[in-house]
Symmetry: C2
Subunit: 203 residues, 2 copies
């Protein structure tokens, strides 16, 4: 093979990412050090910097991986033809992803670290977020076309729905939902989403 060198390079890059992801999910972003990562895969500190500009670049790559996973979990929604049903199902998929991948969700939607590339590289856009929001927007648009959400505007309504679901997940993940009294505290997100679906029924 001629490109053994490049193949090895890609392999090591993947190894670094996998190692970083594992440590990150175990111990959080702050407690994951470059030395941890390099130790885990048996290479030197410097090698990590051959493949990634800095620590932030590693976590930006992980954040992108998260969006690939979320978008793949959205694929089941293609089988739901009714837009309103699809919208409901989308919320469930989203919530399920968030609560089963808490730190990854935090990285994707809360932490500032992976967004700093917006400042660094000239006006680069948050394509991952845009693509995900597009899925929601087009579904809401179909709902409007089907007569739901009468009197509501597309963009603000879609953003409102996203905010609602994101807010629940975010409060839960960042441990801010502790003051809410409910029989099964672990289900507060599900319970709140069901209230929201009741409301959507009326629109």
């Amino acid at each position: 093979m001629i490109v053994v060198g490049k193949k090895a390079k890609e392999d090591l890059k993947v190894l670094i990412l996998n190692s970083a992801k594992k440590l990150f999910v175990e111990k959080g972003i702050e407690q994951t050090t470059i030395r941890n990562i390099s130790d885990a895969i048996g290479c030197s500190i410097g090698t990590v910097y051959v493949y990634f500009k800095d620590k932030n670049a590693i976590f930006h790559a992980l954040h992108t991986q998260g969006f690939i996973q979320l978008s793949s979990e959205f694929k089941v929604l293609l089988h739901v033809s009714n837009p309103m049903e699809r919208l409901r199902a989308m919320g469930k998929v989203y919530i399920n992803f968030a609560l089963k991948n808490r730190d990854m969700y935090d990285l994707m939607f809360n932490l500032k670290s992976p967004m700093e590339f917006l400042n660094d590289e000239k006006l680069q856009e948050w394509n991952e977020g845009k693509a995900t929001f597009d899925v929601l927007r087009s579904t809401v648009n179909e709902c409007l076309a089907a007569g739901y959400f009468a009197g509501h505007q597309l963009e603000p309504t879609a953003f409102m729905i996203w905010s609602m679901v994101h807010g629940m997940c975010s409060l839960e993940i960042t441990n801010r939902s502790v003051g809410v009294n409910i029989q099964n505290p672990e289900n507060i997100v599900t319970a709140a989403y069901e209230e929201f679906m009741k409301i959507m029924d009326k629109l």
Copy 2:
């Protein structure tokens, strides 16, 4: 004065907090160092540790200050007798606070740092958050008593409303609302909240 010693001690504690707050708002939590804080008020590094256990304790104190401010801004709501109107106004006050004190809001509702005291000190509770949620809960409760939100449950509904408003502010503050297309991008939060109020009208 007999308590000069203690008075001085309290003064310095306040100085540290004010200095920390100023630097924190200017440069963010990560970029605010203990040395920055001590330099700004002309004391030594060690002195800061006389008044605060660690950096986290400083930011937990700031986070508490934020809740005091928010709760004071809630006071105007006492003049609104109709619970539904009060609920709407509460959202506006909340959004206004969040967008005018972005880093403080982040500290209060997004960052993990100030919440770590929940692990440290035995089962201490997040009283600041609870008290704020209480204001919302009792307002929603009054709405229910007045016949609004028919068929909805108190706690999940209140949590849902909080999530909705928090989600908007959070996405905006953490720069995740960039993919939303709208004429005045800076008003996406206001526009989305107006859609939400339209929905509340129907309940």
